[in-house]
């Protein structure tokens, strides 16, 4: 007779995510009133389960209150608002004042050699494809090309035909010279130096000839 009502109380206790939305006092009062009237063994079991579920809800409420009153609790929205207002310098200094970095010296060991392999095995540096195990490939591509790739594409797009090297880089000499050197190393473009005038020209295609290293004075 009271089976359905007890199951309903159980469902409320188990399914409600916010324990403060469960009216524990009302439900306990209901369970107390039902108890003298129940007759079957199943109803007694359900009554016991309902009582235990209600005590679980109270425990959850207690945990939340305890956390919110502890020093560890900080209102997330408040933190978010403060973070948005702070400058990069203020943020960095807040971390610096609470930061004690790990100190370590690196000698040559197997991990060091694997990192070196990552570096020298990268396509960007050698301009040729060295077989790399797939799990390492992801690491390398994130490390070396994620930020540069778009910038390289943009610079490459600017080289429509043959252009004078120094004219091309004069807007931002160091940065553009750096990008050109990567494109040339990868074989996306090539550079030609006139032996008589020493004039350097950027060509929008790779060179068919032998690759040689070239030292260029930028500034």
């Amino acid at each position: 007779m009271y089976r359905d009502e007890l199951i309903k109380i159980l469902q409320i206790c188990r399914e409600q995510e916010d324990p403060f939305k469960v009216n524990v006092v009302d439900l306990l009062e209901r369970v107390r009133k039902i108890f003298p009237l129940i007759k079957t063994e199943e109803e007694i079991n359900l009554d016991l389960e309902a009582l235990l579920s209600l005590s679980d809800v109270v425990l959850k409420q207690e945990d939340i209150v305890e956390h919110k009153t502890s020093l560890l609790y900080v209102d997330a929205l408040l933190v978010l608002l403060k973070l948005e207002k702070m400058s990069l310098k203020e943020l960095a200094d807040s971390l610096r004042r609470n930061w004690k970095p790990i100190v370590e010296a690196r000698g040559i060991n197997i991990n060091f050699l694997l990192t070196a392999l990552d570096y020298w095995g990268s396509k960007e540096l050698l301009g040729k494809d060295i077989p790399i195990p797939p799990e390492r490939e992801v690491e390398i591509s994130m490390e070396l090309s994620e930020e540069l790739e778009k910038e390289l594409e943009r610079i490459k797009g600017e080289i429509k035909g043959e252009v004078d090297y120094h004219e091309f880089i004069k807007e931002d000499p160091l940065r553009r010279a750096y990008l050109i050197s990567i494109l040339a190393t990868r074989g996306d473009i090539s550079l030609r130096k006139d032996p008589m005038t020493e004039k350097i020209t950027i060509l929008p295609h790779p060179s068919a000839g032998e690759k040689v290293s070239m030292v260029i004075e930028v500034i």
Binding site: K82, L83, K100, P101
Partner: protein
Amino acid sequence: MDIQDKIKRAAHILMLRSHSKPGVKGWELRRALGDDYIRVIELLDKELSDIGFKVAIKTESGEEPSSKDDYDDSFFYVTFKSPPDWPEIRGSGWRIDELAALAVAISLIAGRGGKAKYEEILDVLAKKIPERRARALITRFIKQGYISGEEELELGWRTLVEVDVKGLLKAIIGSSKQSTS
């Protein structure tokens, strides 16, 4: 091995990284230094103190070991004794925007009770630095062990060792109070 040799050995083990991540477990130190390894570490800690370093000991969950039994399973690290100055930070390759981004990620996760969505951290960072750079930095922090996870991010082992998270949150709130008043 006399005690001075043991201290030297302990310094080498702790400071020369031999695993993929820093830190040496207590049982490894016991194997290398003997049963009195905790005393050796205490003496090393005193010596390091003079040059501004200390030995930090943390359990897997980032707590201080509470009993003697905890030491064998705890991780031992050498860290700065007090926060580094700006010249030291710049010298180690960190930029201001990188440190700021790490402060944002750690504070948001800690402020959310230990977990925060990747997208939420990205949204806040993208208001301060270019989104592409924000994504790259989050990836870097995960790789370095400062944060962990994918869609939902948590504090990583390195943050638990290096950062006073409670102090950071206080600084964030305190600093903002000054700037808004």
